[in-house]
Symmetry: C2
Subunit: 280 residues, 2 copies
Amino acid sequence: MRVFIAGLGLIGGSFSLALRDRGLAEEIVGMEATEERAAEALRLGLVDRIVSFEEGVASADLTVLATPVDTIPLLAVKALNRVGEQQTVIDMGSTKEELCEVISQHARRGRFVAVHPMWGTEYSGPEAAKHGAFVGRTTVICEHERSDADALAQVEKLFTAFSSPMVYMGAEEHDLHTAYISHISHITSFALANTVLEKEREDRHIFDLAGGGFESTVRLAKSSSATWVPILMKNKYNVLDVLREHIHQLQLFRRMIERDDEAALREMIDRANSIRRIIH
Amino acid sequence: MRVFIAGLGLIGGSFSLALRDRGLAEEIVGMEATEERAAEALRLGLVDRIVSFEEGVASADLTVLATPVDTIPLLAVKALNRVGEQQTVIDMGSTKEELCEVISQHARRGRFVAVHPMWGTEYSGPEAAKHGAFVGRTTVICEHERSDADALAQVEKLFTAFSSPMVYMGAEEHDLHTAYISHISHITSFALANTVLEKEREDRHIFDLAGGGFESTVRLAKSSSATWVPILMKNKYNVLDVLREHIHQLQLFRRMIERDDEAALREMIDRANSIRRIIH
């Protein structure tokens, strides 16, 4: 299989490593936003060659769109415009509603599979690519009924090889759930980092005291704006909905602490503890 | 050295294991809130015997108070009432202002050292005790100038043996910084768990999609109310101050997303990224 990956950062780069580690591709070619990052991807062995988008799509059995989500819908259309009956295009973006709407009436919609592996780290760029990504992490496939059976089967075979269990969802449903579970965590973490940076004028104290749980909560705050501004904007209404609920929950905590209402505070924390039954 | 540990949960239990692993105590005795937990602590080898508070303090070279923070000030006074010139009492609590005020005029104030190791996990009880705790984590010593030189040196020797670097602070300063860095992270995490549990009626989706950053941000939400209600109440004013700032930061995110102000959003995220220079 010949693979073309547009976007050789954290996700595209890790996808390439997963293919290579399992010997699933004869050739992997790719493109990157800047020459510097393209050179880095080559140096790291993420791709055999750097190619143009047109050249990449034309020559590939599988085209993978792993660029920031705001660029994916147009690239998806351009890729579908260029593929034949034996070629497949997938994306790995964190938002799907607009994408699926944009390609919905394309003559070759069936050659597209909308894919979202629920894996990531707070790092970005080619050097963030990791071996063993996706293992044990769920991959969401959206609107699978709109994909041709052979294209879907091809993707399922890959993620099975990556040991990533798959779930199937509509695009709207996907964007709703990822807002709840992934996107809001990032906003919380960004806001927490800014809170502490605002309040703590001395880095030294943050550094010394960070053992007290701060590190894990703030880890995601290292995530890049190039990735996250597009995700938050593309999933605006769902994100705002969850953000309002989150602010409301924090206001409840605030009110209970203000009123010394220990019983209510205990109840809120005990309720939060029930996340244990889901996340181990 | 003979050691008495009041409270054999996560912190007290891990302190015992740290002493045992380094052969620093001839005998470790302790007490726990319930018979069941006391039996568990014995079974796990955290203590050689279960004793009463009075018996424990009387017989120990070092008394360690590792109970919930709301119980520490009174226990500290009761312990100091019972110790002689060669005995030392320390606490391991997360808030210090009230404690240090309560013992400030005690005739044997010098025998007390106020200690806070910046280490913890989201688990509690004797079975949460871990080997290798405190290693590489900062331990804060509060009002060290109020402790007798030999008592302070004894504590410093222990934490040096545990490979835990020490920093020195006033009690007020300590409570302020821990509110910023540790306490607020827990509230954020509790509130996030409740947000998602509120919004996501189906556990299945949370479970499937949790790879997207949710797990790390919500980890602390598993922390027990028995530990955290007292901490939040004892540090009420500092916690409220940071909580207000945190809600404000989330409202800024909300407003920018509502207004599609991508430039401002990018700036907020880039600012949050600067936490990288502190937390690696």
